[in-house]
Amino acid sequence: MNYQDVSYWVGLSVVCAPVLLLFVLGGATLLGHSLSERANGRCVQTAIVVGLLGSLTMLALMLFSGDRRVPVELGSWVAIPHYHFKVKFIFDRLNIPFVILSFVLCGTIGAFAHKYMHREQGFNRFFVFYALFVVGMVVTSLAGTIETLFAGWEMVGLSSTLLVAFYHERKGPVRNGLRVWTVYRVSDAALLLAAVALHHMTGEGDFDAFLSGGTGASWPVGTALLNHDQALLVGLLLLVAAAGKSALVPFSGWLPRAMEGPTPSSAVFYGALSVHLGAFLLLRVGSLLQQSIWLQIAVVLVGVVTAVFAAFAERVQTDIKSALSFACLCQVGIIVAEIGLGFRYIALIHLLGHGCLRTLQFVRAPTLLLDYHNIENAIGDRMPHAESGFWNRLIPLNMRSWFYRLALERGYLDAGLTDYIVQPVVRVFQKCDAMERAWIRWLSGGRVNEMDRTEKASLEELL
């Protein structure tokens, strides 16, 4: 067995381990035979360990051979004239650290959740969604084509939504889950359009082909095949996709809403991995961003505005998970700005470090008060509170409450989307619905259907 064969099988094991986990847990649920907590834990442990060992082995192989780009092609999934769908995974300097981070954090959170969710009603459901998330993360991280990346991207979105609505006996989490899903669908639509645009412009969805012109140059080196205008169009679509997934402005409103889910999922989704996927996508297509200065400016602007907004909103949050989510968003904004400025290695290192730190902070969040008590007991005094003297001096007294309200309402971003996009769309369709009912009533000679008497639209009630 030569080096290529070994790397192929090792690469395949990295992808297949979480896929098998999803089949086992999901299949058992569909058949109505949920696994016991212990069996569940063992399956998760095995899949994560196999995936992690595979990733580390691949890293070792790459370091040993000096090869900085190892493609694992599963062949053409679909091949008809004018349309090809290749399933291809790449291990390179961007993917390897990200997939190792994914396995490490998912493994940690899996072990944590096994205790945290012990005897919870939805223990099995949690781990089915968790398995879907791991598959989505691994596929997205290692994707060698934009279509493969899209597949993983959607899986992450669905698992995220269903976990936000995990405590589904209450309306709040369900409403927030639907909000998250709505934003994710916008993000997915933008990514899908970018994929179709790429197909039509370059005839390729393969990252190797359109990001480095098939020269074999590995990340971060390479020149995209697109011209300035094409790069601007595709890049803006990708930026919208990234903004939706990473809660960048103007989509930031969903991030604190997503904190309704169980703490382990909040930690791994919104503290570490899922929230960084947008930044990861922009890192992946870094050479495309370089083709257009306007695109780079747009990326930096979105990043900076997000960072400033998040830092502003974070100061007035009254619960620890919301405060952490905005703190996290602030760093994601900075990472995106770094990508826009072309500092790709710095952005990657920032992303990896930040993901680890936030995971730790999120999993410690439920015991925050205990930690404070322990610290205060140790120092024998109350914890010192920082005074915000600088801002007090800068902002006039009559403006302070206005700014406070603005921060507390999270810049009215969420309310703005609801009032100016969701509500008008819902009202238009409600009007159409009313007109249709009137038309049917007329056609059927004035008969009134039972449903004609109710008033509230389903979506309106939820959003």
């Binding site: 109505g32 679909v78 899986m155 639907l178 899908l192 039509h200 159409c432 038309w439 000679g445």
Partner: protein, 485 residues
């Protein structure tokens, strides 16, 4: 044209008709259901046999070795690349719907009419002759009408639309055929009534209200079986595609695109689960039409794939909704029903089939939707974006309905609400097909691509200007020649 080894196509029609005769004589509804299941099962086996036999022939079209029914010396029933997988699909939908019919529904759901409806649907999908298709499409409205009349439900909206559709199709086809005798190409005005008739049957806006009315007033199973095979799209392929010029088809494609987005938006604001489902279905059938009307190999391939995937996924989705209705009565989306804890696997199947219909990764619809989108953007560079909008809105509508039905405070039912064995088998079968099709999409896509090439080749014979569309890419590694015996 080749001959099949057995008279599969005529058996496909005779078996359910015999079944209908037999079942109509039975008084006990439980026994009627058992016999209906046996006959639909045999019909499904025959449909699979026809598909396999046709596959072994490697022909572009084939018919039965013996002919009981002929019109003007021409065989009425034939099988080709396009219709071959649709026959088992239709038979499977009837078989699984019958299987998933619970005792609570058997008094409302007429098994003899179901078998008649199956015979008509299979005859329609086996027929390539335009007049045969029109007659069979007209006959197919009888079973729902019989049920609505028997149950004393409002009929006027459905009957009005169907009558208008049939009238226009007959008028249009007569006009088109009379023109074909005297001139090479049809005039624009000759095609308008034919097109209008078929589009009304497809439910294209603003002629779609009969779909919601049908779902509201007939039994869920009857409405599902009337809609799920997408007979209207079959009418487009057999009646309109061969005669209409590209410009006309693409103009109609824009109306279908608008209908797809409109229906997906309407699905979002519905308060009744049946109306929600009817709009979701309309959105998907309109997307299929978009692909058909764009008349490129890729768009047609995407449309034919979506036809199969949406048929499977939405039938599964409909059966899950029907299973919920059997337990909870009419389902309203104005309040949270809290059903998850009573039926977790039904909840998972609801999400799986619902998302499969919108092309979620790992399901059969994923690649079909991508191919359709690619073809739509190729044909309509700007308007094609609306396909993405429609699928995005449909995805939101599906998850919203999931939340409404399955989340919320638990109810305390006096009887078990768990899914029954037959229902589980029916929905799991569909789920399995959706997943297998999603993981191994290549054979399905290639088969649909060949069907698309055949349709375009037939069309190119009548419209030489559009022959370029039918030319396969000879240098493409994925292409291989189709035998034309």
């Amino acid at each position: 044209m080749s001959d099949l080894h057995l008279p599969w196509l005529e058996l496909l029609i005779v078996v359910p008709l015999l079944g209908a005769l037999w079942v109509s004589r039975l008084r006990d509804a439980n026994i009627a259901r058992k016999w209906c299941l046996i006959f639909t099962g045999i019909t499904f086996a025959v449909a699979v046999g026809a598909w396999e036999d046709f596959g072994l022939l490697h022909a572009t079209a084939a018919d039965d070795p013996i002919h009981l029914i002929r019109i003007g010396g021409r065989e009425l029933f034939t099988i080709d690349q396009f219709s071959a997988p649709l026959l088992p699909l239709v038979a499977l939908l009837y078989f699984l719907t019958t299987m998933a019919t619970l005792r609570t529904k058997i008094r409302r759901f007429s098994f003899s009419w179901t078998l008649v409806s199956e015979a008509i649907a299979l005859a329609t999908f086996s027929c390539r002759e335009p007049w045969g298709v029109v007659v069979l499409m007209s006959l197919s409205v009888l079973p729902p009408i019989a049920e609505l009349v028997a149950r004393g439900k409002p009929l006027r909206v459905f009957a009005f639309h169907m009558a208008l559709s049939i009238l226009l199709m007959v008028l249009g086809l007569a006009w088109v055929e009379s023109e074909q005798k005297s001139q090479a190409a049809n005039s624009f005005w000759a095609m308008v009534p034919l097109l209008a008739g078929v589009l009304i049957r497809c439910g294209i806006a603003p002629f779609h209200c009969w779909i919601t009315e049908l779902f509201e007033h007939s039994s869920f199973g009857t409405a599902l079986l009337f809609m799920a095979p997408i007979v209207g799209a079959y009418g487009v392929v057999r009646l309109v595609l061969p005669v209409a010029p590209d410009t006309m088809l693409r103009s109609i494609g824009i109306i279908s695109l608008v209908t797809a987005v409109y229906a997906s938006g309407m699905a979002l604001v519905q308060q009744d689960a049946r109306r929600f489902f009817s709009y979701l279905f309309l959105s998907h059938s309109s997307l299929v039409l978009v692909g058909l009307e764009a008349v490129t190999p890729i768009s047609l391939t995407g449309a034919l794939c979506m036809w199969l995937s949406a048929g499977l996924a939405l039938c599964g989705f409909g059966l899950v909704l029907r299973a919920l209705e059997s337990r909870r009565g009419r389902l309203y989306l104005t309040e949270f029903q809290g059903l998850y804890e009573h039926m977790p696997n039904l909840a998972m199947l609801f999400v799986l089939t619902g998302l499969a219909s919108v092309g979620f990764p790992g399901t059969f619809g994923f690649v079909g939707t991508e191919v359709l989108l690619d073809g739509a953007v190729e044909a309509y560079p700007v308007m094609g974006v609306m396909v993405v909008l429609a699928t995005a809105l449909n995805g939101i509508a599906v998850i919203q309905a999931y939340f409404k039905l399955f989340t919320g405070i638990w109810i305390a039912p006096s009887v078990s609400l768990k899914i029954g064995g037959r229902e589980r088998f029916a929905v799991l079968t569909l789920a399995l097909l959706i997943l297998i099709g999603g993981l191994f999409p290549h054979p399905g896509i290639v088969s649909r691509h060949h069907a698309a090439e055949d349709l375009l080749r037939d069309r190119a014979e009548r419209h030489p200007r559009d022959a370029a569309f039918a030319e396969p890419a000879e240098n493409d590694p994925a292409h291989y020649p189709i035998s034309t015996d």
